[in-house]
Amino acid sequence: MAIRSLASRKTLASLKETSSKFLGFRGIQTFTLPDLPYDYSALEPAISGEIMQIHHQKHHQAYVTNYNNALEQLDQAVNKGDASTVVKLQSAIKFNGGGHVNHSIFWKNLAPVNQGGGEPPKGALGGAIDAHFGSLEGLVKKMSAEGAALQGSGWVWLGLDKELKKLVVDTTANQDPLVTKGGSLVPLVGLDVWEHAYYLQYKNVRPEYLKNVWKVINWKYASEIYDTESK
């Protein structure tokens, strides 16, 4: 397992470079499921190993598979000049592509407690959170409340608005990525509030999941993105 974890960390560190491969002769990129940078059970008791395994191996994998299928159909439609099919495919691309993008971020937003999960953000992000939300507690309360109130399936985000240079909390429906709420928004922390993210453990009590997930949030990752993107 140690070897696997090591390999996983390496894979994730270079996610952008390795998560897609070129099928050279046709020029279509296909996306692959990224490894988790920790074991499935490493987030317990906040999130059970069973949830993590199904969430990663089944749900995320399905988004990747369906995204690739839709992109392949898109490629064929473009080559044939089939404008109608190109448009028709957009919803499947947005949903499955969004599912892949969001989950890839989500895995990096989480960390086992012994690897810094739940440790409050320091540095520039910590200061910005205090300035925007009063305190980390204020932000946690706001995001948890918005997550509990979200109707149906979706995500709650802490984002950085690069243009306005400020932090924002927003929600997106289904698998819409944060960028659908504004082109200058960069996701720092995304909380998955689809029922599949918590149901086997928390059943109908979403607020309890939203209370516990903060114990394994990887603020170090969020800080790194913040530092890079706010330059």
Binding site: I54, K58, H59, A62, N66, N69, A70, Q73, K88, L89, S91, A92, F95, N96, Q151, G152, S153, G154, A173, N174, Q175, W194, E195, H196, Y199, L200, K203, N204
Partner: protein, 305 residues
């Protein structure tokens, strides 16, 4: 101009909901009022009707759908999710203008022409779940018969074609929601327009999918059958395998008798409105708006897991 029209429409809609003030030509709401007794409510000792929608139990024991739908799933889905929608709805509307109306009326009014009021989600989910539990039964499945089968064959080609389309629609819902079989003989409440009666060829069975709490009542369709595709409906039994849940639901649980009964009511309602329509045709308005529904032709290739 537009604001005036909308205001006039909503106030006439509101007026027509009060039994003592049913005077306008809005027969749709009048019809709904006749259906009002379907919904249980508590009447306080004083005789004042209060916001007291009751959690109606499924028409079978909670373990009666096993092994296709587990007792545990019903304990949570009915005993927690459905219950919470009803309780929260009661809390939300007590003492408001919505207090004392039927559940259908609360759904239609709180939808507020798409600009949903806070009560909409709980009201519609309470309605949807009651309709859902009554759509299935122990020993269900099989094939429809009689007039229902005739219309299924007419509108979808064959029962097998219908099943395929319905299952595909349910599998491809992008997120939480519902898939419906509905009888479409609707007329829309649109102000400043002539709303003709539906033509014979407009009256048909349709498959629609709706996001989150939305249901086909909002477009004046008559729902006949539904499947809940929120993950909480199947996750304890099937985890991510939504397709297995859908197959089991359609093949082992659907009560086609209930669907047939609902079709009879829907057709009777349509006939009744036609008869009324010939009396006050001049007062009606046309619908130049397309309803915002997701017809089965929108189904996208990939399944959702």
């Amino acid at each position: 101009m537009m604001t005036v029209a909308v205001t006039a429409t909503s106030s006439s809609l509101l007026c027509s909901l009060l039994p003592s003030q049913v005077t306008g030509p809005n027969r749709r709401m009048q019809w709904k009022l006749k259906e009002k007794r379907r919904f249980s409510r508590k009447v306080a000792v004083s005789g004042v009707i209060t916001a007291g929608f009751e959690l109606k139990p499924p028409p079978y024991p909670l373990d009666a759908l096993e092994p296709h739908m587990s007792r545990e799933t019903l304990d949570y889905h009915w005993g927690k999710h459905h219950k919470t929608y009803v309780e929260n709805l009661n809390k939300q509307i007590v003492g408001t203008d919505l207090d004392g109306l039927s559940l259908e009326e609360v759904v239609l009014l709180s939808y507020n022409k798409g600009n949903m009021l806070p009560a909409f989600n709980n009201a519609a989910q309470a309605w949807n779940h009651e309709f859902f539990w009554e759509s299935i039964k122990p020993g269900g499945g099989g094939k429809p018969a009689g007039e229902l089968l005739r219309l299924v064959v007419r509108d979808f080609g064959s029962f097998e074609d219908f099943l395929e389309k319905f299952k595909s629609a349910a599998a491809s819902q992008f997120g939480s929601g519902w898939t419906w079989l509905a009888y479409k003989a609707n007329r829309l409440d649109v102000a400043n327009a002539v709303n003709p009666l539906p033509k014979e060829e407009d009256k048909k069975l349709v498959i629609v999918k709706t996001p989150n709490a939305v249901n086909p009542l909002l477009w004046d369709y008559s729902p006949l059958l539904t499947i809940d595709t929120w993950e909480h409906a199947y996750y304890l039994d099937f985890e991510n395998r939504r397709a297995d849940y859908i197959n089991t639901y359609m093949d082992k649980l659907v009560s086609w008798e209930t669907v047939s009964t609902r079709l009879e009511s829907a057709m009777a309602r349509s006939t009744q409105r036609e008869q009324e329509g010939t009396e006050t045709e001049d007062e009606e308005n046309p619908d130049d708006e397309e309803p915002e529904v997701y017809l089965d032709s929108d189904i996208v290739v990939s399944e959702v897991d």
